[in-house]
Amino acid sequence: MATLAVVGQSVYRKDANPKVTGRALHVGNIEMPGMLHVAVLRSLYPHARIIRIEKSRAERLDGVAAVLTGAEIAKMPGVDPYYGPAFRDQPILAVNKVCYVGDPVVAVAARDQRTAEDALQLVEVDYESLPAVVDVLEAVKPQSPLVHEKHRPAKAFADLAHVKGGQQSNICYHFKLRTGDVDKAFAEADKVFEDTFSSPPAQHMPMEPHVTLVYFDEQERLNVWTASQSPSYVRTELANTFGIPMHHIRVRVPYIGGGYGAKLYAKLEPLVTALALITKKPVRYALTREEEFLTITKHKVITKIKTAIKNGSITARKCEVFWDTGAYAEIGPRIGHKSGYTAAGPYRIPNVWIDSYCVYTNHVPAGAFRGFGVPQVIWAYDSQTDIIARAIGEDPVEFRLKPALEEGEPFATGTLVRSFGIKEAIRQAARAIEWSKPRAAQTGTKLRGKGIAAGVKAVLTPSISGAIVILNADGTANVLSSTVEMGQGSETTMGQIVAEELGIAFEQVHIVQPDTDVTPYDTITAGSRSTYHMGNAVRMAATKIKAELFEVVASKLEAHPDDLVVGNGRVFVRGIAERGMTISDIFLAKFGSLGTTLAAEAVCQPTASHMDPETGQSEKCTEYWFPSATAAEVEVDTETGQLKVLQLFSVGDTGTAINPRHCEQQLLGAAIMHLGLTLFEEMIFDGGQLVNGSLLDYQVASIKDIPRSFRPIVVEVPHESGPFGAKGAGETGALTVAPAIANAIQDATGVRIRGLPITPEKVLRALAEKKGEPMPKDSSQ
């Protein structure tokens, strides 16, 4: 392979200058003449019927342009009052009933924010309380109150085509995987391990809360500026919801201040569109931090996991995973499916049984969160793998390495794994933490321990990325892509790939920000899929342009196109740099002028093969995998339960690193974010009411929480069809942090924590229980 000029180099971010000067465009900085501001009245009940809404006083307040209710939206001609990516179950504003505390009920658009908020004080709503269900394990019982009477599939994504509607149950999606004979294996086992693990709801907390600006332009076209990770989807959703043809909808996304999954699918866009339709004015809605907590969460998950051991090996694993998806399914079914099928781990296990249930409750809706549900299932399976290893006297690292899948072996779905560096990741993690070094004897009240965890995520398949590359006559290029730059560095990655393919300088590539008028369809910017999918699309488009350049040069210089290469803004014969042409000369030769462009489009669309609905078996369930391992060393203060993470190593197989520094940054950022989720993040609900929905009460990792010693380790197992062998890196560092910490705690103290977050109180209680002196239940009161 020829040496690469830009790919594999840690070039600086394309967006560094606008960002470091604070000049980067954000939706919140866009103003329109006469723009209205929004405030929303939200439900105080977890589940209630709306009896009456009295809003005439609010409407009469000076400066108020509209006071809108769900009943009014339902009467708007041609408007579907419900939206959602898996089920059309979420009302733009509550219709007839509310389903969680925080459910939007009445929206005010007014000339300024304070007037909008004042108007809310003048709205009265009468409710009749309904029985609510706020426990996911209660919600699955047949006698539980129903959150929704019927389920209406959305049919928005190919991978969710199998989602069924019409059930009389809170289970809106049930994934099943069956392979081998689990019952027989349990009957014949030497030992059976059964554990239940829980992972709480949490908030994404992007520093920029959701914000959307909508206006109708002089052609009456719907214009949307929105902080979204999925501009193409937003356009489709608005077309379906409001009956507007797609060419009359323009969705633009500038830089966004973090997403982590929170800004996927439609969020504020349907409501702001409804307000703009009614008021005929530009309308902008920016969520407050408190509203952010009431908009989307990370799934609370309960996992029951049972594992059979025979002759020191895992012979069977049965997993029941319960996803609390809240009042509206959001993307819960996709998470229940894609994460569900990985719930037994990256191991060779002959008999596997998985039930993954996506369940409605009267909680804030849950959706995608960096890792797409996989951190929650790995929390269960790799905590238990460690429990088993220690219980049967095996070395935890060797116990994982032995059954870890090798290249070409079948995953639990039957899919043969490719580019699967799980063993290498485990080995690297063990080496970094000096696993095999003998431990010093421990005395006193500060105990140290080491832990390793491993796991794997599969990329969402099928999905689609389209891109257009335009080469200008001066040898610069514009790239049209709907991938959203949300901090991950996609502009830089795409710039490197296109520069490499066209043989031009990185600085000569400009990435056009998502604008559905000009940038082609892309499924979502999420799930670590952009480098592979959009990277392939921009590369293929550039390759097409290169072929056109080669055609001209071949005829001019009487060379064979196969002998031509690009570099330094020129096309030349391989090995004979002086026999070539500059891009400008090629344009002159082809067009006779320099004011021209060459454009090409390409689409990357990996497919999956059919998955059997009863057994979860599929010849190909995913395009590629993200193996992950984390090693941690902790110090536990046995008197206070306080935990110090002394060392943390985050290992991820990213495929070939297009930008090694950025891959490391992704691994580490995901790991530190998940360190916060492991140690203290939890949205606490009391009867459906969120009690810590503000940054005064909800803690996330700060600079003080980073371990004394920590390092990312990039494992590069090239993928045969990735762009230059790349896969992706956005989530890999998130996957295995929590079990690595819990495993280290057991190593240090012998106690096992099965519920996240791992607070000092939980550690102290576990230590007391181990001593045979359990603490009273209410000690915290």
């Binding site: 600086y12 971010r13 967006d15 560094a16 200058n17 960002k19 470091v20 000067t21 604070g22 000049r23 980067a24 954000h26 919140g28 900085n29 304070r114 994404h204 907390m205 992007p206 520093m207 920029e208 809360p209 830089y255 966004i256 201040g257 973090g258 997403g259 982590y260 920016a286 407050t288 931090r289 408190e290 949300m486 901090g487 991950q488 560095g489 520094r661 950025h662 940054q665 580490l668 950022g669 995901a670 790991a671 530190i672 974010m673 916060g676 503000s694 940054l695 005064l696 996330v700 990792a701 700060s702 600079i703 003080k704 980073i706 920590f710």
Partner: protein
Amino acid sequence: MNREITLGINGREATIKVEDADTLLEVLRNRFKLWSVRESCGVGACGTCTVLLDGGPISSCFVLAVRVAGRQITTLEGLSDGQSLHGIQEAFVSERALQCAYCTPGFVLSVKALLDEIPNPSDEEISEYLSGNLCRCAGYADILRAVRLAQERLSTEAGRPRK
């Protein structure tokens, strides 16, 4: 109630009418269109809206504009001359201490205040000083390195030896 106040903003005096309830953040954004100042938590807990008040960092979402009448305010727009980057900004770029960068203006200004106050901070002092600024991309290691680099460059410029 409406009041007329004078603020020194990025070195220029400005006299404006504000309402008592207007936060400094609202005034800087809505009246002066200083878009580097951004709201995030609204309760003074995340540092995103940090500006310098007479050189010291404050959360502008949590301060009423009338309370800072007559005082000097620096936003990121006022940190450099607009032609070139400030040494701290250069260090943030070099160390890639920004991702989504919504928190970056607040961080850069906090680092400015830190290095003005403690020219040679220890790791603990840096962590303590910056613990009020949150970065959800969690690029804290890069930010730490950027502080070190900025400190080195600024010390060299000022002719100060490094500790």
